[in-house]
């Protein structure tokens, strides 16, 4: 298959590679360069300032706040989401009444649960954020009115308006919208674990609690780990940006009193609201480092013997 091979290769790779280089690779390289300048983004002139932006960043209180919030999201969100999803998936696959001859049984209607749980996954994160912004509305939102209906009218939190609650509210929305995806993912993994393993464990007198930690979780570990990384990247990146920007108060979100500002949002605000493009890319570089560090840590912590079955 030599005839015209290289012409073909070049012809097929040229367009995708050009597009990718121009809109993805080149901007990434540029952003690292821009972080060493004083470019405002508004005028074409700028000068080289070395690491000034980086030292400024280290003194920037809001940067530290957004870093802290982003790290909180990256730790708490995967923990809660993956934990809940594992719990639900185990319930779906093992929580059912045993039928004749089966060591384990899924609950009745598990297919239905999986369909419903997956709903939020297909919705735009912008729509989800808007919906919950209304639900959280302190005066006439769904949540506070529901509290009133069940006689808890004295508890009427300000949810997104309360600096102590706002970040938790934002996290709850992200958990709500992603759990279903992981339930389906983990369910598929659990379904592929051979039944013999469960039968053997039951014969050995193991209860379901032990079964989960000794059989299901170890055999599912690879999927759990990639889910963990996926969720963390999501929490550090575009999804957290959308939720915080849309739901929380302030000119471009992040309030009240910077209590929910996260790194991607701060990059956006600096670049497109404050006209500090160079400084924004500096924070972006920090975000990149945090993301890579997160992935490295999870892979390191999660490393264990690979189990084949």
């Amino acid at each position: 298959m030599q005839h015209g091979k290289y012409r073909f290769i070049v012809g097929f790779l040229a367009a995708p590679l050009a597009l990718y280089a121009l809109f993805v690779i080149w901007p990434f390289i540029q952003s690292i360069y821009y972080s060493l300048t004083d470019w405002s983004g508004l005028s074409p002139e700028f000068g080289f300032v070395g690491f000034d932006n980086y030292s400024r960043m280290l003194d920037d209180e809001i940067f530290w706040k957004s870093l802290q919030h982003s790290l909180t999201l990256a730790v708490v969100l995967p923990l809660v989401t993956v934990g809940l999803a594992l719990f639900f998936a185990f319930m779906l696959n093992v929580g059912g009444r045993r039928r004749r001859g089966a060591a384990i049984a899924g609950v009745r209607g598990s297919a239905f649960y999986k369909i419903v749980y997956f709903f939020p996954q297909v919705l735009s994160i912008a729509i989800v954020a808007l919906l919950f912004q209304f639900a959280y509305n302190p005066n006439s939102g769904a949540i506070n009115s529901a509290l009133k209906l069940v006689g808890l009218g004295s508890i009427q939190p300000d949810w997104l308006g309360d600096p102590k609650l706002a970040l938790i509210c934002v996290m709850a929305v992200l958990v709500w919208s992603t759990v279903g995806f992981f339930v389906v993912l983990f369910s598929a993994g659990m379904a592929s674990i051979p039944r013999d393993f469960y039968e053997a464990a039951l014969l050995d007198g193991a209860n379901r609690f032990t079964t989960f930690f000794k059989i299901t979780l170890p055999l599912l570990w690879d999927t759990v780990q990639s889910g963990w990384i996926y969720m963390g990247i999501l929490a550090l990146g575009a999804e957290s940006f959308a939720v915080v920007q849309i739901m929380t108060v302030g000119p471009n979100g992040g309030g009240p009193d910077y209590s929910t500002v996260v790194l991607p949002l701060y990059v956006y605000q600096k670049a497109f609201r404050d006209g500090q493009a160079a400084y924004a890319t500096t924070i972006g570089v920090a975000l990149l480092l945090v993301t890579l560090a997160f992935a490295a840590v999870v892979m390191k912590l999660g490393r264990r013997e690979r189990l084949e079955f």
Partner: protein, 312 residues
């Protein structure tokens, strides 16, 4: 209750405290202990309870939104949980025409349609070459593509904005299409390269021997064979591009070019001041319904398409 948990006749019940050897485990039917009957029942109730609670938590906000979209503004504020007194369809028509929902829909369809076709075409071309041909730089280009999956988009957005501006691509549908394609390529190439590697080589070689060019072999033999992979990655990209918020927010700020997600957010801001909450909810539900309907109809393919990406 049926005799679900009884011991199969003829098989000796092993000692539940751990006497059963592995050999028995393979052959004997499972013989749960006596108390496991009640344990199973309790657990069954418990698991159904928990699962139903989460199902309600998922569905409630969506139903609430649908309900609210049929109410008057007054009713939304005075009794958020009551059913609408009558179905106020005028909210929907107001959102569709006056609040520009129809325009946002059209913009989204144009942009997503264009970028989906482009992503699948360019993605499969690159993936095919990377999967099937040996040439210097193959590995480098492959890793260049898949490296894009782990970088935060927001970092590239600032320079990208000015790249687009210099090329006069800001606030244009074709500009947005090109950017969507570029940012969809990493995953698409990654997925399709793996897919093309699994396809048998003999058919393509036969076609080539018969005198078909490489290009013709690709379009007439390989692409049809890759259909399942294209569908999976197509669904993944469709949902991702349809729901995209960050890219259009930065690169597409002109009012009449807005796509659905950003149009809705803008609507929320402006309608909020005008107080047209019912119209806003109608718009919100309008934007939710097509994807939910598509999901329910193509449920299997959607789930397979989305989870295929995460496992591999």
């Amino acid at each position: 209750m049926k005799t679900t948990d009884t011991v199969t006749p003829g098989v000796e019940s092993p000692d539940p405290s751990g006497g059963a050897g592995p050999a028995v485990a393979k052959t004997a039917a499972p013989t749960p202990r006596k108390e496991s009957k009640s344990e199973g029942a309790v657990l069954n109730v418990f698991s159904h309870g928990v699962l139903i609670i989460w199902a309600i938590m998922v569905v409630m906000p969506l139903l609430w939104a649908v309900m609210t979209s049929f109410k008057t503004d007054r009713a939304i504020f005075t009794s958020p949980w009551s059913l609408p007194d009558s179905l106020h369809f005028e909210n929907w028509s107001r959102a569709w025409s006056q609040a520009h929902m129809s325009d946002y829909f059209m913009n989204t369809i144009v942009v997503v349609g264009g970028s989906l076709v482009g992503t699948l075409l360019l993605g499969s071309m690159a993936a095919y070459v990377l999967a099937r041909f040996d040439f210097p730089g193959n590995r480098f280009i492959y890793f260049l593509f898949i490296g894009g999956m782990s970088f935060p988009i927001i970092l590239a957005l600032v320079p990208l904005f000015y790249v687009m501006q210099n090329m006069a691509l800001l606030n244009t549908p074709h500009g947005l299409i090109l950017v969507y394609i570029a940012y969809s390529l990493p995953f698409t190439v990654f997925f399709l390269t793996a897919f093309f590697r699994t396809l048998p080589t003999s058919v393509a070689e036969a076609a080539f021997v018969d005198g078909a060019s490489h290009t013709r072999t690709f379009f007439q033999v390989m692409l049809p064979m890759a259909k399942p992979g294209l569908i999976s990655v197509g669904i993944f990209n469709f949902l991702g591009q349809w729901n995209q918020y960050l890219l259009p927010t930065v690169l597409n700020t002109e009012q009449d070019q807005k796509v659905l997600s950003q149009g809705l957010v803008q609507l929320a801001t402006s309608q909020g001041y005008k107080g047209d909450w019912s119209g806003l909810f109608a718009g919100l539900v309008m934007a939710m319904l097509p994807v939910l309907a598509a999901y329910i109809i193509f449920q299997r393919q959607v789930v397979a398409g989305l989870t295929a990406g995460a496992v591999k």
